[in-house]
């Protein structure tokens, strides 16, 4: 189970945990080497290998708990580290993906 982040930056106005908007995620063009392009906003950013793997997991889940379950099942990672990485990454994606 993922705890609520202290900064709340991966949460909505009520502080609820959330993933980036699935519709925004779905419109992104993502290359195998981690280049991400948003064809609507024209913005682009790059992901390292871990970010790319996490991004693909995000694409398949709608809940942070499900992301957490898949990450801890797929990678050798301590639960608290997985939790921290997932929350940080979700916050960064939310900041980069504008409606």
């Amino acid at each position: 189970m993922i705890d609520r982040p202290a900064s709340g930056n991966a949460g909505d106005a009520n502080g609820d945990l959330r993933l980036p908007d699935p519709a925004l995620m779905a419109r992104l063009a993502v290359s195998d080497n981690g280049f991400v392009f948003d064809p609507v906003s024209g913005n682009s950013f790059t992901l390292n290998a871990a970010g790319l793997a996490l991004f693909r997991i995000f694409l398949h889940h709608r809940k942070l708990d499900d992301v957490f379950a898949e990450v801890t099942a797929s990678f050798e990672v301590k639960p608290h580290e997985a939790e921290r990485d997932i929350l940080e990454f979700a916050a960064q994606l939310c900041a980069n993906l504008k409606p």
């Binding site: 063009a29 392009f37 064809p39 906003s41 024209g42 504008k98």
Partner: protein
């Protein structure tokens, strides 16, 4: 009129200062790379130092009288150049000349010169001074704008609810974001000295700038839309790099404007996308933009499409634009032999023009 199989196209706006280029050279480049055979390009411009007058994209080039010389002088010069070159199509590329070109459209048609231009009414409706009216008709958000004729406004505007930062804009060209009264008064004097009064003051929309170009069919529809997000700017806020995007919301915005205007001819729609993703109209330019070469780069060569339409040719279904394709502008020196510059200064025509005529 060109001989059979040949097509001569005259293009204006061959000015190309690195920080704020005219669209003429980009339009010529699009046509040159369209694969059309038998194409002759006549470049037209207003200043002997405009680099497009000496660029190999043009087969021959001529100076035009400045718009301040009046419509009659422009007509006489165009008809004289037409006698020398026999051009079939004229593509005007500068805002300041559009009104005169529209007034001359019928006269040009009588001597066989085809154009695809808006009406004077359409041109006026997208004038900066009337844009709020058009935006309201089309139900498109538009930042509050007011005309200003005295720099004193900027020292008292806070009392009228106009806080900084603001945008100070010229009646035709130029815009500057200003952050305090002194900054604003300086921009007012600089822009009004170049472009006259009134200066327009506009509330600043925070967000990102997007541009769209297309051809209006005159019946309320847009053909061949290409959208671009500016990725790098010059000091004047012009695109130095841009990337092709597509957003249905921007398409809907432009469609609403085109429908309200029933726009005929090329156009550029400039918008700001605010932090919530809503588009605010900033300007509508009545011509192709200087970045129109991106249209060729994404598979929708708009100047070639315009030419095909003017010649009554079937151009088929357009492919979707290649999203993510970028342009990055660079400055290039054109070498000008003294004879060419001399001819331009004395005769208002390039040396190549003389050579071409002899060859013909």
């Amino acid at each position: 009129m060109s001989p059979r199989g040949k097509l001569t196209v005259a293009i204006t706006g061959m000015n190309a200062r690195a920080d704020n280029p005219g669209p003429g050279l980009a339009v010529a480049r699009c046509l040159r790379e369209s694969g059309r055979s038998g194409l002759k390009i006549v470049g037209l411009s207003y200043d002997a130092l405009d680099p497009g007058l000496y660029h190999p994209f043009c087969d021959s080039t001529y100076l035009l009288p400045y718009p301040s010389a009046g419509q009659e002088a422009l007509r006489d010069r165009l008809l004289w150049i037409h006698e020398q070159e026999g051009f079939d199509v004229l593509i005007p590329c500068l805002d300041a000349e559009l009104s005169s070109m529209v007034a001359l459209e019928e006269e040009l048609a009588k001597v066989g010169i085809r154009t695809f231009l808006p009406t004077e009414h359409q041109l006026q409706m997208r004038d900066k001074s009337r844009l709020s009216e058009l935006a309201a008709t089309a139900h498109v958000p538009y930042p509050e704008t007011r005309p200003v004729t005295h720099a004193g406004f900027f020292y008292t505007c806070a009392q009228q609810g106009w806080g900084y930062p603001l945008v100070v804009k010229g009646p035709f060209y130029d815009a500057q974001i200003v952050r305090d009264p002194d900054d604003a008064a300086h921009a007012f004097r600089r822009i009004s000295a170049a472009w006259g009064l009134p200066i327009l003051v506009q509330r600043l929309i925070r967000g990102e700038e997007y541009n769209l170009t297309a051809i209006g069919d005159g019946e309320g529809h847009l053909i061949g839309t290409v959208m671009m997000k500016k990725r790098a700017l010059t000091d004047k806020g012009k695109a130095w790099a841009g990337i092709c995007v597509f957003d249905q919301a921007l398409q809907d915005t432009a469609d609403a404007l085109a429908k309200a205007l029933r726009w005929r001819g090329p156009l550029e729609v400039e918008v700001m996308r605010d932090l919530s993703g809503r588009y605010h109209l900033i300007e509508i330019n009545p011509r192709f933009p200087a970045w129109v070469y991106l249209s060729a780069g994404v598979g929708r060569n708009l100047p070639a499409l315009l030419l095909a339409r003017l010649m009554g040719e079937d151009y088929g279904a357009l492919p979707g634009p290649s999203l993510g394709t970028m342009f990055i502008r660079y400055a290039e020196e054109v070498i000008v032999p003294m004879e060419e510059f001399q001819n331009m200064m004395i005769l208002g025509a390039s040396a190549r023009t003389e050579e071409n005529r002899r060859d013909a």
